[in-house]
């Protein structure tokens, strides 16, 4: 089982995430040719080694993240928010003040 670090929630089990495919492919512009659109959906490198991919923290904060993973060893080199517009996370939370019960 992979342990994936959500940039906001910290390291979580793979089963909290769902896989979203190759993150390195660029979505063509509306005017792109049919070939470009075909490649975007269907053409993949299937690389052995470093692979940049999307995962969604589905059973957690629901954010989409970009994961750089080794497809042979499963080593994860980096994880980052997929969206440039979401406020950054600071890893797992540090408490500020307590809850009165």
């Amino acid at each position: 089982m992979l342990r994936i670090e959500c940039p906001w929630c910290g390291v979580r089990n793979e089963d909290e995430f769902s896989y979203g495919g190759d993150a390195s492919v660029q979505r063509p512009a509306d005017g792109g040719s049919l070939d470009e659109w075909y490649d975007y959906v269907y053409t993949r490198d299937n690389s052995a080694g470093q692979h940049t991919e999307h995962w969604q923290h589905l059973n957690g904060c629901r954010a989409w993240i970009t994961v750089v993973r080794d497809t042979i060893t499963h080593e994860i080199f980096d994880t980052a928010p997929a969206s440039p517009n979401l406020p950054p996370g600071s890893g797992s939370g540090k408490k500020t003040n307590g809850v009165k019960s």
């Binding site: 089982m1 992979l2 342990r3 089990n13 769902s18 979203g20 993150a23 979505r27 063509p28 509306d30 792109g32 049919l34 659109w37 075909y38 975007y40 959906v41 269907y42 999307h54 969604q56 589905l58 629901r62 954010a63 989409w64 060893t73 499963h74 994860i76 928010p81 997929a82 969206s83 440039p84 517009n85 979401l86």
Partner: protein
């Protein structure tokens, strides 16, 4: 008391607590702390089972989970557990065990005739012999073979116990609580690290209990008990005893099985039988010890032939003498301890037979002091006896051809050296390497955050184990970010140096042919390995599969290295060149129940219930699973009511009067922000920029490949506030799809959205009298002018705030009421009350489905992941001058060319014959048997109460242009062929006048 092989004293057993148990119907006595194996041996019972293939008598070879032979059926009835190792079963009072794989009895087993035919049963025998004719394999051979070569039988009743799963994080996990593990755990804990220490046994100590050691001036057993006590008193240490670490997975995730209740007749209230732990340690210290190898000689599987270390364990841990006249046979220094321990326990040691010409002098002197004969340069060539060992034949290891020397004995303690337990290291992705000095594999370069220490690393001397534990525990704590001081050293008294000269297989007496077993559980012999190699199966992985070497439930713990060495000899190559097999989890067999945990029976899968569920249940509704939801399918009014009766009645009620259905399961998404309209415009194929506030619109979403993904309505609630509905099945995928595009493709769009499916109860009120009904409870003007088709409004239903939508799935005048879910049942009851006088009734998903087929609304069976908007007749909605998901790929030639399967309506032209879902649509010239020329298929069927006949929707090649054509609907499975007519998919009210009425 008949335990005549029990020593007078000693052992980690409680002699004040005698336990009674039965084996094969006979009652015996043992003590608390015994295993089934030790208690049987104490009673002189050595014959425990018959072997897998040859049905040879087998006894107890080992003292732990590496045991290949001594497997029994434990318990009876629903709790019966086959293939359980007697060596790992903790004895309890009333334990019942039976031998297995024998008929009619263990002593007289008919299938032992296989032993005589053994020349026929060599490696690959099944593959070679039973290949022809093919049909004989399933009809004849398999049944016979399965019966002859069997293990135990499983219980036929459901398991009455439960299993559970548990998670725990720690800084340092220590695997094994022998001398190295105990030191490592204390050392790491002393630094303040969170430590988990796991051990297979109830008692911590490992070899300190099995052996006759001294540490820090006290017995090893007592020293271990003190350390265990120390650990138990540390609040940063979690001791997991009776727990086997069975798997080392990616990213330092560890699987463990805790045998919570296996040592008691049945689990205490609320306790599971076993618990599966998933552990998340930062660092792992593997102190899993080593497993001894047996010497390979003729008939080495005779009951009475045991591992030298197992013999010591029976003496030291359980106070049991495994025989009366013993021979110790070895190729290394370690087994000398066995002779000494046997001697001290009062067992006559006839000789120590050391295959080496020059045994270590200090050890020879120790034997001499006890007057035990040492025979050097010889080894056992063969063992003889019937159902128990009677004598051995010694042969020279130096190539001398003198007559074999016969020695009478009833116990052989044999050792061919030690294999470090590199299993977890290998599972972690690392590659063990061959170490010539100990003639075995040791851990190689670590790939994950693990380190092996002590015997698991190939260090067999006690002092080294203690020292390595101390250092490794501290190092693991430091690497986890802790600072502290090293604990003081522990000093061992026993410190014989380990030495070995490999002897992989013994010469046989007079070079005669004997069965020399390597893998005793799968009955793989040395000759099978030779044969496999000669036939070309000479790589380790092929050998394993061809001979089944190492593939039994013991995973070849005692046999794999022996097999590899024999293969290497056959190939004439050094062992490292031949390689080693990769170890895979689990290290020990794990009951399947552990992987399910509590998710069995009523907890098999979480169930989603709507707010109206209880009312539906009280009405006697029949439910159907829709994803995780339970939905009311139909409402029987009497016990005789069939599904057909109900949906026809419910459909008629809707079409002629008014009826209500719970539609809470539809996905609902609240969308807000300045850019919502543009966002929707890109999600859906149709236009969204000009939807007025207070209006709903139907939309179609495609996938990026151009195939239709989902449909539903979206309503504009306010300036920047929209409310989307999805199909029940796609509620979660649509939300994830929207999040994906918003976060990866269009982050510039300023929108936010979240699921509100759970917040709202949805009730559709449909039928010509639906307006009349609602006017009784709703406080807004529902006239066609004020509230037309696709209108939306906020209103009050009596006192409950509601959202009202004029949308229709049935094709009738209809409304959908949404109320906050805690008021869902109340709202449902108020609507029923409001319609009581006009005779309102509920309808279920079956009537819902009937009405959607009558209206030609496509749903899941048409949105099958292959159909495009064009196929479904919805292309007219698309605005191709704007951008939307799937726009470009939906124009690929194959998706717009001729021959596409397009949605059609289908009517039976044979009166009284019902259509069948899944039936293929074929030309009438095609034979019933051949559907290879299928032109399409039926996707949904119903009896249409409105039309009074069976109707269907289907997908047919170029179907949109074939209305009026007749074709055959065939189902070869049912030997059925029906003539049908293709028609427009909308069967009733094609102009949609009713919904606008």
């Amino acid at each position: 008391m008949s335990q005549k092989f029990r020593c007078d004293e000693g052992g980690a057993i409680d002699r004040r607590k005698p336990l009674s148990f039965t084996f094969d119907g006979k009652t015996y006595q043992g003590y608390e702390g015994d295993t089934l194996a030790s208690a049987l041996l104490a009673n002189g019972v050595h014959l425990l089972g018959r072997s897998f293939k040859y049905h040879r008598p087998r006894g107890i070879m080992c003292a732990g989970s590496e045991e290949p032979n001594a497997m029994v059926e434990l318990r009876t009835g629903a709790r019966k557990e086959p293939n359980t190792r007697a060596t790992t079963i903790e004895l309890f009072d009333g334990l019942v065990a039976n031998s297995q794989n024998r008929w009619p009895s263990l002593r007289f087993d008919v299938m032992a005739v296989n032993n005589l035919f053994s020349p026929l049963l060599s490696a690959g025998f099944y593959y070679k012999t039973f290949m022809w004719p093919v049909s004989f394999w399933t009809n004849v051979y398999e049944h016979i073979i399965r019966r002859a070569a069997g293990l135990g039988t499983a219980a036929t009743e459901a398991d009455p116990d439960f299993y559970e799963q548990c998670h725990e994080h720690c800084d340092v996990l220590v695997v094994g609580a022998g001398p190295a593990g105990l030191m490592a755990a204390i050392s790491a804990a002393n630094y303040g690290a969170r430590v988990i220490i796991a051990d297979e046994h109830a008692q911590l100590g490992g070899s300190l209990i099995n052996e006759n050691f001294n540490v820090d001036g006290i017995s090893g057993k007592d020293w271990a008990a003190r350390q265990a006590q120390k650990l138990a008193g540390m609040n940063n240490v979690h001791i997991l005893n009776r727990t086997t670490i069975f798997g080392y997975y990616d990213h330092n995730t560890i699987g463990a099985i805790e045998k919570v209740s296996d040592h008691v007749p049945q689990p205490a209230a609320g306790k599971p039988r076993q618990r599966m732990w998933t552990l998340y340690p930062k660092r792992v210290v593997i102190a899993a010890g080593a497993t001894e190898r047996p010497l390979i000689f003729g008939n080495n599987d005779k009951p009475g032939v045991m591992l030298a270390s197992a013999v010591r364990t029976y003496i030291n841990r359980w106070g049991v003498k495994p025989g009366s006249r013993a021979i110790v046979a070895t190729n290394n220094s370690d087994a000398y301890r066995t002779a000494i321990d046997l001697h001290q326990a009062g067992v006559r040691v006839v000789a120590v037979v050391d295959s080496r010409m020059h045994p270590d002098a200090p050890l020879a002197a120790k034997l001499d002091a006890l007057s035990i004969e040492l025979i050097a340069g010889k080894t056992i060539g063969a063992a003889e006896g019937g159902q128990h060992l009677r004598y051995v034949q010694l042969v020279s290891t130096q190539g001398l051809t003198a007559d074999p020397q016969r020695i009478d004995c009833d116990l052989v303690a044999s050792s061919s050296g030690w294999n470090p337990n590199v299993h977890l290291h290998s599972q972690s992705g690392a590659k063990p390497i061959y170490d010539e000095t100990i003639a075995s594999f040791v851990p190689g370069q670590s790939r994950q955050a693990e380190v092996s220490i002590g015997a698991a690393k190939g260090s067999f001397e006690l002092q080294d184990c203690l020292d390595q534990g101390r250092a490794a525990g501290a190092e693991a704590a430091k690497l986890s970010g802790f600072k502290g001081r090293l604990i003081k050293t522990a000093s061992a008294s026993d410190d014989d140096a380990y030495s070995i000269e490999a002897l992989w297989i013994a010469p046989t007496p007079y070079n005669k042919s004997y069965k020399q077993f390597i893998d005793q559980q799968n009955d793989v012999k040395a000759s099978d390995i030779d044969l496999a190699a000669r036939e070309g199966y000479d790589s380790v992985e092929l050998l394993k599969r061809y001979t089944t070497q190492g593939m039994a439930t013991d995973q070849g713990k005692t046999s794999n290295v022996n097999a590899l060495a024999i293969l290497a000899a056959q190939r004439g190559e050094p062992i490292p060149e031949v390689g080693t097999t990769t170890f895979r989890p689990p290290y020990v067999p794990v009951a399947m129940g552990n992987f399910a945990g509590h998710t069995v029976g009523y907890q098999f899968m979480p169930v989603r219930r709507t707010a109206i569920h209880d009312w539906n249940e009280k009405q006697g509704a029949v439910f159907i699973e829709a994803g995780m939801w339970l939905r009311a399918r139909y409402y029987p009014q009497s016990p005789e009511d069939t599904l057909y009766d109900c949906y026809v009645r419910e459909t008629n009620a809707t079409r002629s009067n008014v009826a209500m259905v719970d539609v809470s399961t539809l996905g609902k998404i609240d969308i807000q922000g300045p850019d919502v309209a543009e966002f929707l415009n890109r999600l859906y194929i149709n236009n969204w920029l000009k939807l007025p506030i207070g209006r709903a619109r139907y939309g179609i979403m495609l996938r990026e490949d151009g195939v239709v993904f989902d449909d539903g309505t979206t309503t504009r609630l306010g300036e920047n506030h929209y409310f989307m509905t999805t199909t029940t099945a796609n509620a979660a995928p649509v939300l994830a799809h929207m999040e994906y595009y918003h976060q990866t493709a269009w982050p510039e769009l300023d929108v936010v959205f979240c699921s509100v499916t759970e917040q709202w109860t949805g009730i559709a009120v449909a039928g010509p009298n639906s307006r009349k009904l609602l006017e009784n409870v709703i406080d807004i003007d529902l006239s066609n002018e004020a509230f037309p088709f696709m209108a939306y409004g906020e209103c009050k239903m009596n006192n409950i705030s509601a959202r009202l939508f004029r949308i229709s799935f049935s094709g009738e005048l209809a409304y959908e009421v949404n109320v906050a879910a805690d008021y869902g049942e109340q709202a449902w009851l108020e609507l029923l009350e409001a319609g009581r006088e006009m005779g309102v009734s509920p309808y279920g998903t079956e009537a819902l489905g009937t009405m959607r087929i009558e209206k030609g609304h496509v749903a899941g069976s048409e949105l099958d992941g292959r159909t495009t908007a064009l196929d479904l007749g919805l292309e007219g909605m698309a605005n191709r001058s704007k951008h939307f998901i799937g726009k470009h790929n939906s124009q690929r030639p194959a998706l717009i060319g001729d021959g596409r399967l397009q949605v059609v309506g289908i009517k039976s032209v044979e009166a009284g014959r019902n259509l069948r879902i899944g039936a293929h649509l074929v030309d009438d010239k095609v034979k019933l048997e051949s559907v290879s020329q299928s032109q399409g298929h039926i996707t949904a069927i119903t009896f249409s109460p409105s039309l009074g006949c069976g109707i269907a929707l289907g997908l047919l090649q170029d179907g949109a242009s074939r209305h009026g054509e007749q074709i055959d609907a065939v189902s070869p499975l049912h030997d059925e062929k029906i003539r049908v007519e293709i028609c427009h998919p909308i069967f009733i009210d094609p102009k949609g006048e009713l919904v606008r009425a």
